[in-house]
């Protein structure tokens, strides 16, 4: 019964997308309080790091990933050790804990979204398309709302699949 279901389904998409803008409002937040203030701009613009230096999976894997504290300490055992934030970091390290970073982006379980970074990276989607100009942010802030509308619009512009099953399974 593709005839009824699919045609109507297509027409239905933007409406749902708008509705889900509301739903996903919960994923929108102003500057997030993090356990350790991590200035993205300092690391990227000043120190010259790439996004994928820390978010290792962003280009080739399903999830971008948050770095382990090992990675932070590889540098911060030596660099900026007198900063109070680095001291806080070192405190976690001393106790053999990871930093309990608060996620800024992600999909609610109820959205049943199976997102994969790799194909987006392969398609040449810039990080900033979905995450904003993180490199110039002091604190990572939710700059792009990940509503279904955002995804669908981009998928249609770039001639990617707009099948529900592309993301929801």
């Amino acid at each position: 019964m593709r005839l009824v279901g699919w045609r109507a389904g297509r027409a239905f998409v933007p409406a749902t997308a708008r509705a889900s803008t509301l739903l996903l409002a919960l994923a929108w937040a102003p500057a997030q309080q993090q356990p350790v203030a991590f200035p993205h701009s300092t690391h990227i613009e000043k120190a010259g790091l790439q996004c994928t230096d820390c978010h290792e999976g962003a280009a080739a894997r399903d999830s971008a990933g948050l770095p382990s504290i090992r990675k932070c300490m590889a540098c911060h055992q030596f660099i900026a050790t007198d900063s109070p934030e680095v001291a806080r970091l070192a405190e976690y390290w001393e106790r053999r804990h990871e930093v309990p970073w608060v996620r800024v982006y992600g999909f609610a379980k109820q959205a049943a979204v199976q997102f994969r970074h790799a194909p987006h990276a392969r398609a040449g989607v810039a990080c900033s398309k979905c995450h904003g100009e993180v490199e110039s942010m002091q604190t990572a802030t939710l700059a792009v709302r990940h509503t279904m509308g955002t995804c669908i619009d981009c998928h249609r512009e770039s001639n990617a699949s707009d099948d529900c099953l592309a993301c929801h399974f």
């Binding site: 009824v4 199976q114 194909p119 529900c164 099953l165």
Partner: protein, 241 residues
């Protein structure tokens, strides 16, 4: 694109048309597929109380039919899963278009669109759709086993076999990454992968060289309840006796 298909045209770069063949002459009814499916797809265990109310879920099951009387008894058995019908009775009855057929012939259930009317399950002649009565729970540490590639369905939606859509997705991404087209055998749903008697095959039925296409054209092929006109994508190869 689906619109082309409706107009009876083949698109220039045709999508694979997924289909499954189950050889009933090989199938022993051992139910390995049933547990493989539960493990792969985060299908929750209902428990004895809910099971007694008819709420146990098996996306694939072995139906058995006793024929004749002792000592000349026969059992016919048949693995039954979502038939991914081309003319699926579940689709037109959904008031919110939560179920539809996609361009590759998969009967898709969109969990976050489903509002749980259960009309689809009611209208399915194969009884392969299951309502999620309660939020599923896994007693610690059983939750460690959950497959992150598959959504855990919340209470209030209908779920069913997806032909392991996540494995199809994974196979496509891998092929894409390796810069090659999908090959026959790249996609193996968990049931097919597991089958000890090697009774099940899965693949693109429009590829004449695929195992599944050859099975379908073997001369032993039949569909379940063909008189209903549902045009299933699951083909059974008759037991040769």
């Amino acid at each position: 694109m689906p619109d082309n298909k409706e107009a009876g045209e083949r698109p220039a770069d045709p999508s694979p048309q997924w289909a499954m063949a189950i050889d009933l002459d090989r199938c022993t009814g051992c139910e390995a597929c049933v547990v493989a499916c539960s493990a792969e797809n985060n299908v929750p265990v209902a428990g004895p109380d809910q099971a007694a109310l008819g709420r146990a879920k098996h996306w694939i099951r072995i139906d058995r039919y006793y024929e004749g009387e002792f000592p000349n008894v026969k059992v016919r058995h048949r693995p039954v899963l979502c038939q991914h019908c081309d003319e699926a009775p579940c689709e037109p009855v959904c008031p919110v278009y939560a179920t539809y057929q996609n361009a590759e012939g998969l009967n898709v259930q969109v969990y976050n669109r489903c509002i749980g009317t259960r009309y689809c399950a009611n209208n399915c002649p194969y009884s392969v759709r299951f309502f999620t009565w309660f939020a599923p729970e896994w007693e610690e540490p059983l939750d460690l086993q959950l497959n992150p590639d598959v959504s855990v369905r919340p209470a209030g939606v209908v779920e069913k076999c997806t032909f392991c859509a996540h494995r199809i997705k994974r196979a496509k991404l891998t092929a894409d990454e390796e810069g090659r087209p999908l090959r026959d055998g790249d996609v193996q749903p968990a049931c097919v992968q597991s089958c000890p008697a090697e009774a099940m095959t899965f693949g693109d039925q429009t590829d004449p060289d695929s195992k599944v296409a050859r099975a379908i054209s073997s001369g032993r092929s039949e569909q379940l309840l063909p008189e209903l006109g549902t045009k299933p994508r699951v083909f059974y190869l008759k037991k040769a006796d």
